[in-house]
Symmetry: C2
């Protein structure tokens, strides 16, 4: 099934079910007011949501209401927590090159704890204070988890993946090197993260969900121009080991998001889902970075298509915008 | 006023108002179902909660119900986000010594993004998988924020502090050095954080709230034995600069927690609110650490008293317990 969250008076938004083709939707707030509540009561809620989804897909074309991406919040505007891996070594390699810092040498999975209070919807502006902070996109696959027990095995971990979605995990590269070297990780270098309009259950991606990885390419555009279609199947460890790593010293509660890290591979023709990678390669080749980071007014588009070219998750398609002093909180 | 959260069917718990002497309480879930909701609607909720608090304090001794600390969840079991500073340089100095890593040299405030999905109540067990992970306590002061605009000034930042509370920000020292050196910060080294039974408004600590710092000593015990009373007034920057730092590239949404870092000072007779500090000093003095980290079954107590010896926030008083395989999620 495909689920989304419409913005509402509640900061957790209102749960809706979206048709497979992303054209129509129906309210689901009678089943659970928001997706976070649905995840807490997944055993009860999931079959009801699935039933409503199947009815919507079977209904005549005018059933429900038109699905408006611009009304979407993030599927989980305020998830229980946000843990982001970095499971594509190619990404780390080129970003370190771009930042001028030593390559990261960690035998353990790399992951950071992200902010949770203000996740952005797919077409909401990404609001930032200053373009000189070197604004970058990061296209990722994100697993939405149910309750995960402490000490879960790598094998059992994937059973707790309830939904998948895409993210633009924005990074501010000018702040990143210092924060990475502080010992405390990233705070200012990681502003709000944005998410695809819909989150989908694993059966929606069944042909491509193999060994805890999504075997699809991500389509990434900057101002309408292609910049990459990296392959999400190239995760080094896959989601199971990442979840088990995070749950080693604590249980993870329903509504936890776990990210793959920026999708990236060594294929020269695949482009990139992060500008820093492109700049790292330019430094290697030309001795200098040539591709600028994002400026205010630019747009980023991230999506993933099925074999028929239909969008699986809907597209993240957002503008980089400036926070004006005294701007809306 | 003093507010607490009783555990309930909701994962955000149920809001109650607690008398100044922490003896009695009344339900407040008609004003806001939980503290997170109250913070989202603080302008409306705060005067109503204050009114109920004053009535409770004025009522005869039997009014309301007996306040049971063991029924408490964390005041915010699932805060919007958890950002923890490290604003007592003395703490960082001795912990680095204990861990055998170079002293942290950062001109910017040190802070890490913590997990939010599973905050623990004051007397709930701190459940961990293995005592060989070097289990440590960390006694902190925590500010509970309302909505904070991006780019807030250091001066304006403190206006957004709605409540204060105490925390035991448990650390697993055996995992910390590697994670601090990974560039991505701490994930496994920072399991669930625990909080004092009540959160209090600033007027409750008015005589001691000076220059964005709480001028009180923290009382810390291990298995009933005193191990420290470090002075919370020794914050290097105070809360205003910490909030402004965190809000530089993003707004902070109501229900954000911002921690002071482990309360610590250079006074030799003040003891410590973290065992790693004690071990660092032992290494300096004797060439080896002598004080063991926490073992399963041990208890930690953290509180702060007023001039009459009455507890301001109630005490964190919890047991370190082992997660058994197949234990309760």
């Amino acid at each position: 099934m495909k689920l989304a969250t419409y913005r509402s008076e509640s900061r957790d938004g209102r749960l809706i079910v979206v048709s497979r083709n992303l054209q129509r939707a129906v309210d689901a707030s009678d089943i659970a007011p928001d997706l976070l509540s649905a995840l807490e009561h997944w055993e009860v809620a999931a079959p009801l949501l699935q039933q409503r989804y199947e009815a919507l897909n079977a209904d005549p074309p005018g059933a429900g209401f038109s699905f408006e991406v611009d009304s979407c919040a993030a599927p989980l505007p305020r998830p229980s927590q946000w843990i982001d891996g970095s499971d594509f070594p190619n990404h780390g390699h080129w970003v370190c090159k771009a930042l001028g810092i030593p390559a990261l040498a960690s035998a353990a999975p790399l992951m950071y704890q992200g902010g949770t209070d203000d996740m952005r919807g797919a077409t909401q502006d990404l609001i930032l204070p200053d373009e000189s902070l070197d604004i970058d996109l990061e296209g990722e696959v994100v697993a939405v988890l149910g309750d995960v027990p402490m000490g879960v095995s790598e094998e059992d971990a994937t059973k707790h993946i309830k939904l998948l979605m895409l993210a633009n995990d924005c990074s501010l590269r000018a702040l990143q090197a210092q924060e990475m070297q502080s010992g405390f990780g990233m705070i200012r270098a990681k502003p709000s993260t944005s998410f695809s309009p819909v989150a989908v259950s694993l059966d929606e991606v069944k042909p491509w969900w193999i060994q805890n990885r999504l075997h699809r390419k991500m389509q990434v555009h900057r101002n309408g121009e292609w910049i990459g279609n990296p392959d999400a199947s190239l995760m080094k460890r896959g989601f199971g080991p990442l979840i088990a790593h995070a749950a080693y010293t604590r249980r993870l509660r329903a509504g936890t998001l776990l990210g793959s890290g920026t999708v990236s591979g060594p294929d020269d023709f695949a482009g990139s889902a992060a500008i820093a990678e492109i700049r790292g390669m330019e430094i290697e080749k030309h001795g200098e970075a040539r591709t600028p980071y994002l400026r205010f007014g630019e747009r980023v588009r991230i999506e993933m298509l099925d074999d028929e070219g239909q969008s699986i998750f809907g597209a993240i398609d957002q503008r980089i915008a400036r926070q004006f002093p005294g701007g809306v909180v």
